[in-house]
Structures are given as structure tokens and as C-alpha cells.
């Protein structure tokens, strides 16, 4: 199966061919590199920008205003923080003009830890981004969802922030992208750029099919009855793995992949928490003024009397950065063991 980077590339190809995408751009997004994570190799509308994130977001806005369909990349979300005013502007333009202008633009950026990226290649961006109104914010945890969410993003009339969990970009999926060839090596030969000289290289795209994951719809990854775990991105597969392990201990955990952070699937969370009475929110952004706290607030406000134990949040520690050394990264953001322990403890919590 395709990995997430390939899935993104295929979605972008599909969007170039079928959805009118006109510009896929960012630092090192075009030839010869095709993106630091290979996500934009071989696409026909890619180009390399100056090293200027403000210019990149600004250009995306302008292209959208001019009737183009831009997909901009910020090389690492760690470098998006000098553009927050522009992101706010993109998010408020429709509202501020009372509906006169809209901003059909997609911004993609890799987020999160997991590659020993040290202080500036490990940031999460979900907390900051969900605080900015007017955007839709998504974050897949599988290649197929990445494909489907990106296709939906490229159809949107509004700005979409597409967060790519960098630890999962090279992980192969368990479901086939519609149109993807059966053999992984064949796929790689077709669409992965060769090492060395690429000037003569052209990808051979498989015949991809339409497949759109709607925004605002989460996905129940595992059924369970005793507690609910809501997560997304890098930590989602860890939650699923923890749930599988805990099943052996007789603990039945339901796992929800939120996928869409804004709007999000409140109905799915609600139904689950009403059933289990216990909920753990997991993400890896720093834990103060964190999006998981919003989800927890909503849970408490609406489901207080259904709760059997306090909702819990497992998130990144409130630290200025994620340190390079293994020991530091592991201690800073939720790892497999932390998640399993938090689930176990919540399942057994008694007043």
C-alpha cells in the first residue's frame, strides 16, 4: 500500500487533473527535490518559492483571490509562526467583507514529533490553528484518509489547513487508495523520483479515482464499551495499539480518529462518551491552552452527568521545545507507554 507521502502526492495529482488545482508551491516543493518529504514529486504545477513563509501564505491568498486554486506548503509547521496574522486574515476575509470575498486555498504542513527533529522540527500546530476562526483544519492518520481529506480540501471554498503528522508520512497504509496498483514496488517505480539526476524523470501516474473524506466526520477505529479515546495524527495509531493491548487485560476501549479538527464530529464523541462514561483525549501539542482542553470543556459542559470519571487529557508537556536527545523527546510528548498507562488508569478510576 501507499505511504502517506505517496497518498498526498496522488491526491495532489488527482486535484491537478480534476479539481482545477493551479499552483502547488513552497520552499523546495518543485523540482528537483519535490518537497523535503517527497510529497510533491513529479506534480505538474509545482514551483519553488523564495525562502519566505509570509510570502507563501500571502501568495496563496492572492492566487485564491485571482481565481486560482493554490496548495501552499510550509516546509515545517515550526516555521509558520511568523504568518499567524496572515492565517487570521485568510480566515476572516469572508466574514469581514460580509461574504464578498472567499479564500479557496489549502495550506499543507508537516507537524509533530517522531523523527528526532529537535526544537524546530517537532512542533505541533493543532492548538494554535484551532484557535483561528474561518479555517477548516484536518489531520489524517492513514494514507487513505490523507488522500480523501486532501481531495475534499481541494474542493473547498474556504481556507483549509492540512496537517501532516510527519512521523506517519512514511508509514504504509492498510487500505488501498482507489486506483493504486496492487504492488508497492510498482507504485514506487511509477511515482517516486529516482535518486540522482531527475531532469529527465517523469512520473507515471496510476489512474486514480475520486475519493473524498468529508470534513467534520470522525472515524471509529475500534469499538469498545468501557472508555473512549479521542485522538488524531501521530498518537492515533498508538491509541489503537494500546486499545488492542488492553483488550487482553479485559479493558474495552473505543478509539476515535477525529481526522477533522474543525469542524469536528461532536456527535461521534458524544455518542461514545454517553456509552462509556470515560474519555481520554490524546494529542501531542503542549498541554496549556490545548485543543484537547476544548474537547474536554465541551464534554464537561454537555455530558457532565453521563461521566463516570473525570475526562482526561494526555498531551505534550508544557515545555519550550522538544529536545533532540532520545531521552528528551520521549519524556516530552506522549509515547506508547504513556498512552496505555493513561487508558488503563482511566478505565479503573473510582471516586
Amino acid at each position: 500500500m501507499a505511504n502517506m507521502a505517496q497518498a498526498i502526492r496522488m491526491a495532489l495529482h488527482y486535484a491537478e487533473e480534476n479539481l482545477g488545482v493551479t499552483d502547488i508551491f513552497g520552499e523546495d516543493v518543485g523540482m528537483p527535490l519535490g518537497g523535503v518529504f517527497t510529497c510533491t514529486q513529479g506534480l505538474k504545477t509545482t514551483w519553488n518559492t523564495p525562502l519566505d513563509e509570509r510570502g507563501i501564505i500571502g501568495a496563496a491568498m492572492g492566487i485564491a483571490m485571482g481565481g486560482g486554486r493554490p496548495v501552499a506548503e510550509i516546509q515545517f509547521c515550526d516555521y509558520v509562526y511568523n504568518t499567524i496574522d496572515l492565517l487570521k486574515l485568510a480566515g476572516n476575509t469572508c466574514w469581514s467583507t460580509n461574504g464578498d470575498w472567499n479564500m479557496p486555498m489549502v495550506v499543507r504542513t508537516p507537524v509533530g514529533s517522531g523523527i528526532r527533529g529537535s526544537i524546530y522540527h517537532s512542533h505541533s500546530f493543532d492548538a494554535t490553528m484551532t484557535h483561528i476562526p474561518g479555517w477548516k483544519v484536518v489531520m489524517p492518520s492513514t494514507p487513505l484518509d490523507a488522500y480523501g481529506l486532501l481531495i475534499t480540501a481541494c474542493k473547498e471554498q474556504n481556507p483549509v489547513m492540512f496537517l501532516e503528522p510527519k512521523a506517519l508520512l512514511r508509514v504504509k497504509g492498510e487500505e488501498r487508495i482507489p486506483g493504486e496498483p496492487d504492488d508497492d514496488r510498482q507504485l514506487s517505480k511509477m511515482i517516486d523520483a529516482p535518486l540522482g539526476d531527475r531532469t529527465q524523470w517523469k512520473p507515471q501516474w496510476p489512474t486514480l479515482e475520486a475519493y473524498a473524506v468529508p470534513f467534520g466526520k470522525g472515524k471509529k477505529v475500534r469499538e469498545g464499551s468501557q472508555l473512549t479515546v479521542v485522538s488524531y495524527g501521530r498518537t492515533l495509531p498508538l491509541c489503537a495499539k494500546a486499545a488492542a493491548a488492553l483488550a487482553d487485560e479485559g479493558i474495552s476501549a473505543e478509539v476515535i480518529d477525529l481526522r477533522s479538527l474543525w469542524p469536528y464530529d461532536w456527535e461521534l464523541i458524544k455518542e461514545s462518551v454517553q456509552k462509556t462514561g470515560r474519555v481520554l483525549f490524546v494529542n501531542e501539542d503542549t498541554e496549556v491552552t490545548n485543543f484537547g482542553e476544548h474537547l474536554m470543556r465541551r464534554t464537561v459542559e454537555e455530558l457532565f452527568y453521563s461521566l463516570l470519571a473525570p475526562p482526561r487529557l494526555l498531551a505534550g508537556k508544557f515545555l519550550p521545545g522538544i529536545g533532540l536527545a532520545d531521552s528528551l523527546e520521549m519524556a516530552s510528548v506522549p509515547q506508547q507507554g504513556d498512552i496505555t498507562a493513561a487508558m488503563r488508569s482511566l478505565a479503573s478510576e473510582q471516586p
Binding site: 523564495p50 500571502g58 492572492g62 492566487i63 483571490m65 486574515l89 460580509n98 461574504g99 474556504n158
Partner: protein, 335 residues
């Protein structure tokens, strides 16, 4: 920065057709009357805040007249500053919309009572929404120009802003993105230099002798012009726009203008005596050359003043936006 030696003296003969001069004059008067009405509305409590362009009419009116008006990349885009009412009126917009925005009524055509005066938005004429954050339009403008470059035709992008704002990195970004050898852009980059940023004099803040020097460093054709002279402004803009339309390359204009009522209502919005008043100066020349009499000009001014007073009375009774309307247009689906 010292003023450049102006090539054309204020007393030099007017080099445009009489008809064109009268149209420019008419729009300048209309703009001034609009701005003065807006200021009065503020002073009478019919609005919370005023900011606008009295003192920039001689430049902004010709700019609007020369724009290729329409919607979409075949036409010109304007990423405007908040002192641009002259341009908007020259595009043919009715002034009452600006009054409605001043009074933040539900009928305000630019923001539905949401935004400050002078914050125009006209998708129908490719006028991008005026942003309160200074200079961001310079980061956005290359985007429309890129689309125009690709689709072909002669539509161009125009971006305007103030002198103090050029200290923001976005001004430099605009120069960088517009002049890339792989893709030079059809963009007219404008700075209206009134020598002030709120209370801060430009003299102490600009190491460059001319703001246009910064564009020249990028190999961009660049000029500093007298924006208080509508004839010079018209001719220079025309030349610049023709260049951009044809060459599909950037051009830069620094226009020296006046700030006739201070920065905004926050600084009192009173007439400043010691700045050149482009309208007064132009009228003196029109009279001198026998194109109009003082009487005709006074009549015109009075007519606009009265029209705008009437419009203001009308706007006064229009409803405020409904509180529930806050939920409208967060997303484009709501349209």
C-alpha cells in the same frame, strides 16, 4: 528624507485634455466632499472612527480612472490602502456606501457594519478588502499578479500603502516576489508617502534617500513622483500601467502626497494648514488656465456637499446589523 526636485512646477501648463482635467477635478471634489462628510459624521457621533484619504485625491483619482475595471484576472486588481476613496469613486462607486460603512449600518456594502470607514471591498471591481493590519496587502498582491501572468491578457495588479508601512517585511516580500527572474510579475507597486506614520515623522526612520531606491535595488523600474499634482500623477500612472500591461514586469511608484486631516479621528481629524492641498492647488491652475471659474468650482463643491449631507441623513435612519448576523459568512457556504 528631503523632497525630490519636482520636474514639473505647480504653475506649469496643464498637459491633459480639458475634458479629462474636468473629470479629474470633479472626482477630486466629490472625494473631498465625501471625506469631509465622513469626518463630520464622526464628529457628530454618527460613527466610531474615521480614517481616509483627504490629501491623496490628486493621485488616487487618476489611479481609479486608469484601472481596467471589471472582475477576474483579465481586469486590474487593486490591493488598496485605507486612504483610497478617490480611487473607489473614480471606479464609479456611489459615495453613500462609504457613509453606510461609517455609520456601520446593515446596509454597508463593504462589510455589513463590521469594519471601519475606508475599508472598502469590491469583488465586482477586483478591489481586495482593505486590511487594517498595515502592509499585508503587499504580501498578498503577488498572488493575483501570478494568476494574471499565467492567464495572459493585459490585466495587472496594483498594490498601494503608506510610507511608514514599508518598514514591515511584507514590503520587501513584495519586491522579492515581484522581481524573481523565473517569474517577474505584472504588478504596479505603489507607496503613497505622506511623510508620517501616525505621529512618527518619516525623516528619522528612513535610511533610504527615496523609498523608490529600494525597488531599484531589485532591478525594478521605479520613480518618485509628485502625487499632489493630478496631471503628473495621471501621466506617470499611465506610463507605468502601460509598461506593466505590456512588459508583464513590475514597476514601482512612490507618490509624495499630503495628509490633510491628520492620521485619523484618533488624532482629531482637523484640517492641517501646513500641508499642500492638492485640490486647492489644482483649482488655482484650472482657474488660471481658464478651464473653470471660481464660481463653477464653488457650485460643484456645494452640490456634492449637499448631496452627501442628504445621503448622510438617509443613512442615519438605516438599521444596525442584527446581532444574530455575526454568524453569517464565517464560511463561504453561508453565501
Amino acid at each position: 528624507m528631503s523632497r525630490p526636485r519636482l520636474i514639473k512646477e505647480a504653475s506649469a501648463p496643464l498637459q491633459l485634455d480639458k475634458e479629462l482635467l474636468l473629470r479629474i477635478h470633479d472626482l477630486m471634489v466629490k472625494t473631498r466632499a465625501l471625506e469631509e462628510r465622513l469626518i463630520q459624521m464622526y464628529k457628530q457621533g454618527h460613527g466610531y472612527f474615521w480614517i481616509g484619504g483627504p490629501g491623496e485625491e490628486a493621485f488616487n483619482v487618476p489611479l481609479g480612472m486608469l484601472m481596467k475595471k471589471g472582475q477576474g484576472p483579465a481586469y486590474d486588481y487593486l490591493h488598496a490602502h485605507y486612504r483610497q476613496s478617490g480611487t473607489i469613486l473614480a471606479l464609479g462607486e456611489e459615495p453613500i456606501g462609504a457613509l453606510r460603512q461609517m455609520k456601520n449600518t446593515a446596509t454597508d456594502p463593504y462589510s455589513g457594519g463590521r469594519n471601519f470607514a475606508g475599508h472598502f471591498s469590491l469583488k465586482k471591481y477586483n478591489v481586495a478588502p482593505v486590511s487594517s493590519p498595515i502592509e499585508v496587502q503587499y504580501a498578498v498582491a503577488p498572488g493575483t499578479a501570478m494568476v494574471q501572468k499565467r492567464v495572459g491578457g493585459d490585466g495587472i495588479t496594483i498594490v498601494t500603502g503608506g510610507d511608514a508601512g514599508t518598514a514591515e517585511g511584507d514590503f520587501a516580500s513584495c519586491l522579492v516576489w515581484s522581481s524573481r527572474p523565473v517569474n517577474p510579475l505584472p504588478i504596479l507597486i505603489i507607496v503613497t508617502n505622506n511623510k508620517w506614520g501616525i505621529s512618527t515623522s518619516g525623516d528619522g526612520q528612513h535610511g533610504e534617500a527615496r523609498i523608490s531606491d529600494r525597488a531599484k535595488a531589485f532591478g525594478i523600474q521605479a520613480k518618485t513622483i509628485n502625487g499632489n499634482d493630478p496631471v503628473e500623477a495621471y501621466n506617470e500612472l499611465k506610463e507605468a500601467m502601460e509598461y506593466v500591461r505590456k512588459e508583464r514586469k513590475p514597476y514601482f511608484i512612490e507618490a509624495l502626497v499630503s495628509r490633510l486631516y491628520g492620521h485619523s479621528s484618533a488624532s482629531g481629524a482637523n484640517y492641517v494648514g501646513d500641508e499642500v492641498d492638492c485640490l486647492k492647488q489644482f483649482e488655482a491652475r484650472l482657474e488660471q488656465e481658464g478651464f473653470m471659474t471660481r464660481q463653477q468650482m464653488d457650485d460643484l463643491r456645494n452640490r456634492y456637499t449637499e448631496e452627501l449631507a442628504a445621503a448622510a441623513r438617509q443613512v442615519r435612519d438605516e438599521p444596525q446589523p442584527d446581532p444574530d448576523s455575526i454568524w453569517k459568512h464565517i464560511y463561504a457556504e453561508d453565501k
